[in-house]
């Protein structure tokens, strides 16, 4: 087995505490423009992340070709530059999930034909770009203590870009869905089509403070952007807005934020992290109180604690979400008057994780007396993330994930600055 031979070769040449993480990814996607296949993509890629000690210094490299062992050794030696001040425990958890997946040969033509029928049903629609695909990840970790763990994950997805046009006005939006059946896909897409058509006829709103519904995808995107504030490296470096706030109330007591990577229902399922630490269910915020800092092995060693199973070549999360409410709510009726925000843009630049400030382009609906009376777009919502968490008044039961990392249900929040 080439990994074990590589480990032996590296040990024989002076390296110690070797861990090799093998990630194999296979991804297939088919993109349609109307009824024609426009793009057909297949990706089959394997990568190896090697961590080790050489001459009492730590090294971390990721490679896609390990066939030349001498070259691998040279690269490791040349980049062993960090003092091993805080030795790591490189033991692996005892988990083997040897599930085998295959890329299926699903023919998406039938589903796509149903999708394209919406072009006839809704005359304002000018186009739908659709892509469908599957993603398989295999992960194996080996170490120089002859331990080995194995896991695999598969999910499918459907992604749409919907375009509408009326006179000189264009509107469009994206939708991405994971592990949904055909009926669920068609229903969600039709809802999105209606949203896009509503945006052809928008009203201007006044700059004001508003009580708002934030739909699940919007909440998930905001939560995803603030994941860094929970990480141990940010605490250690003094660059998180949650510094000195552990065990303090930082949110409404409705708010519980959970990470649950073991959950089969979620596409981010992983039994162990990329360092071989078992993942676990944990509450980062429990009824408004900040409870848990996320650690990988490096920062667990610095803080003299144990890894929380969040080591993904740096600290990261899988299947993190705002705990949903127990029952579905009529949020429009509860809100009564305000805005429903169903789309935000500018996430990579309009978020400041040091101050918590958020300023984003948004679009959505105007709500009066519990009814949607019109749509609006090209306005800006501004707030502070901690104020957002404190101002959550209601949480729906409609949890959805936007990625393998993050999900959320829809919420009602008071006091959002809306600029128009």
């Amino acid at each position: 087995m080439k990994i074990k031979k590589l480990i032996k070769f590296l040990l024989d040449n002076g390296l110690k505490d070797i861990v090799i993480t093998v990630n194999k990814n296979i991804c297939r996607s088919i993109e349609y423009h109307n009824h024609d296949i426009e793009k057909n993509e297949l990706s089959d890629i394997i990568s190896y992340t090697i961590t080790a000690l050489f001459d009492s210094k730590r090294v971390n490299i990721t490679l896609e070709d390990i066939s030349n062992k001498k070259e691998v050794l040279e690269l490791l030696k040349r980049n062993a530059l960090i003092e091993n001040d805080n030795p790591l425990n490189n033991d692996l958890c005892e988990v083997v999930n040897d599930r085998e997946y295959n890329i299926s040969n699903i023919d998406y033509t039938n589903l796509n034909n149903h999708v394209m029928k919406y072009l006839d049903k809704y005359l304002e629609l000018s186009d739908i770009n659709a892509s469908y695909g599957e993603n398989i990840d295999y992960i194996d970790i080996y170490n120089s203590n002859k331990q080995h763990v194995q896991d695999a994950n598969k999910y499918n997805y459907a992604c749409f870009e919907v375009f509408a046009k009326k006179n000189d006005i264009n509107s469009s939006s994206y939708l991405i869905l994971f592990n949904k059946n055909e009926e669920e896909i068609l229903k969600a897409l039709e809802d999105k089509i209606k949203d896009v058509i509503m945006l052809l006829d928008v009203r201007k709103i006044n700059t004001s403070k508003q009580r708002c519904i934030f739909t699940n995808n919007v909440v998930a995107n905001i939560l995803d952007a603030f994941i860094p504030i929970f990480k141990a490296d940010k605490h250690y470096n003094g660059t998180t807005l949650l510094g000195n706030k552990l065990n303090q109330r930082i949110a409404s007591d409705l708010v519980t934020i959970i990470e649950d990577p073991e959950n089969d229902q979620f596409i981010g399922k992983r039994l162990f992290d990329d360092e071989g630490t078992k993942t676990s269910y944990k509450k980062l915020i429990d009824k408004g109180v900040y409870k848990i800092i996320l650690y990988d092995k490096k920062y667990a060693s610095i803080y003299k604690t144990v890894s929380t199973g969040n080591g993904y070549n740096g600290i990261n999360v899988r299947s993190l979400y705002l705990e949903p409410g127990e029952e579905h709510l009529d949020l429009l009726k509860i809100l009564n008057n305000g805005m429903l925000i169903n789309e935000i843009e500018g996430m990579h630049a309009g978020i400041n994780t040091i101050t918590g400030e958020v300023s984003l382009q948004a679009c959505g609906y105007i709500i009066q007396n519990g009814i949607i009376i019109g749509a609006s777009k090209l306005f800006i919502i501004s707030f502070n993330f901690l104020d957002f968490l404190n101002n959550i008044e209601y949480i729906d039961a409609d949890l959805e994930f936007i990625s393998s990392k993050c999900g959320a249900p829809s919420v009602i929040v008071r006091e959002i600055n809306v600029s128009s």
Partner: protein, 454 residues
């Protein structure tokens, strides 16, 4: 991979009946060395090696990315995705390999003084003010070797080198923390460090961070905005750059589709995309389809002059190729993308612009942004801004977003100064993240929506 391997794969594909095929072989090394907490903290190295195979058959594009080395397994991947088998008679021979490479004075391997550079920057920052609570410096090194071959016989290689320094300074006062960020990037080796005057830049960054501690919230709304030079060019990158890429134009998914020759901006706007600027972060010798890069005047005195078009879209758009095809790595099919995109300079001064505004914003330093090319709606973030009141710059303002629509905003640019500069960044789109620069001289936009939290 050898020349005969490239020829074998291309002939295999063309024999099956493809109209066109292209191979992109890549071997690249990225290294990031991180300094924080007064010491070297981490080194991450990533070496990727793989092959991207692009096949065109009528209107369908097939793309396969793999780091499989066995040619028979590569054929199996091709058969799995391109099922046609016309068994055509073909014999494609590649031309002689044409080699390109970047000129580098100090290679990444040769430079061993990073610790001293960090200590110098760290010391300059902390001596500037006792409020400096953290200094982070990340040194980014990128070396890429590519070989591109296609069924037209093209066979070219390029050795590309990029270097960038990320500098983050944090100040803290009474538990309130603010940060500033400076990240110059170059198509150079470590000789780039000689082009940066740290003695001037670092204390200036510290002062700017301290001013942010006193930044006030403003009431949002439409107002005139002066957008600073350099990274302020992100307004053009978002407002029209993406809308001029063939990716969206060819399918009529851009507000600027079918508008060549039309006036889309004020006469003060001349927008250029130039992949040939020496040593510039967004430049390359050849694009990722193997074509020698060129300077493209996209908008000339307000009139739409040219789109950015890659090989696949040339026939669809009946437009000349512009050598703008780019991709993050072999894992992505290439498409038309920006390189170094900038507004050409005007003649006014910043003082003249500020004096022309009764109440507005001076957006001194910008963050990134995004755009929907179909609607033209765009946004970008402001990292540092100041109020303008009665023709004078007054208080620092908490960071905000600016949003607008492409078609409207280009007609609101009424003043352009003479201080053109370009700054580095990364642009994300369908072919992945690619290094780009954006640039402009300081400009005045008569009216744009500013987000506020007062």
């Amino acid at each position: 991979m050898k020349k005969q391997d490239f020829e074998s794969i291309i002939n295999y594909i063309m024999k099956k009946g493809a109209d066109f095929s292209e191979l992109f072989f890549e071997n690249s090394l990225t290294r990031v060395i991180k300094y924080i907490n007064n010491k070297k903290d981490d080194v991450k190295v990533k070496k990727i090696t793989g092959l991207g195979i692009r096949i065109k058959y009528h209107d369908e594009v097939i793309y396969i990315s793999t780091n499989e080395k066995d040619i028979n397994k590569i054929y199996l991947l091709i058969d799995k995705t391109f099922k046609l088998n016309e068994n055509k008679e073909v014999k494609i021979s590649l031309k002689r390999l044409k080699k390109y490479q970047d000129d580098v004075v100090i290679t990444h391997d040769e430079f061993t003084n990073l610790d001293r550079v960090f200590d110098y920057i760290n010391s300059l920052a902390r001596k500037s003010s006792s409020l400096v609570s953290q200094v982070e410096v990340d040194a980014f090194e990128y070396d890429q070797d590519v070989i591109i071959a296609n069924s037209l016989g093209l066979y070219r290689s390029d050795h590309r080198v990029l270097s960038r320094l990320y500098l983050y300074i944090y100040v803290t006062r009474d538990q309130e923390q603010r940060s500033v960020y400076y990240a110059p990037g170059f198509k150079m080796g470590y000789e780039y460090l000689d082009t940066i005057d740290f003695k001037k830049i670092v204390p200036d960054l510290v002062n700017r961070a301290i001013k942010l501690l006193d930044a006030v919230a403003i009431k949002g709304g439409e107002m005139p905005v002066i957008i600073g030079n350099g990274f302020g060019g992100v307004i053009f990158h978002e407002a029209c750059g993406h809308g001029l890429e063939a990716t969206s134009v060819s399918q009529n998914f851009s507000v600027f589709s079918n508008m060549l020759g039309q006036e889309i901006a004020t006469k003060k706007v001349t927008l250029i995309d130039d992949g040939t600027i020496k040593k510039s972060w967004g430049s390359s010798n050849i694009d990722d389809e193997g074509n020698v890069t060129q300077k493209n005047i996209l908008i000339k005195n307000g009139v739409l002059n040219r789109y950015l078009v890659d090989y696949i879209n040339v026939d669809k758009m009946k437009h000349e190729i512009t050598s703008s095809s780019r991709r993050e790595s072999y894992k992505y099919a290439p498409t038309s993308r920006m390189s170094n995109t900038y507004l050409s300079k005007g003649t006014l001064t910043i003082e003249e612009m500020i004096q022309s505004i009764k109440y507005g914003l001076y957006a001194y330093s910008m963050g990134g942004g995004s755009v929907n090319p179909y609607t033209g709606d765009f946004n970008f973030a402001v990292r540092e801004a100041y109020l303008i009141e009665d023709g004078k710059v007054t208080k620092a303002v908490q960071g905000a977003s600016l949003i607008g629509n492409s078609k409207d905003i280009l007609k609101q640019v009424t003043m352009v100064s003479d201080d053109l500069s370009l700054e580095s960044g990364f642009c994300g789109s369908v072919s992945g993240n690619v290094p780009t620069t954006v640039g402009e001289p300081t400009i005045k936009v008569d009216k744009i929506l500013v987000g506020g939290s007062e």
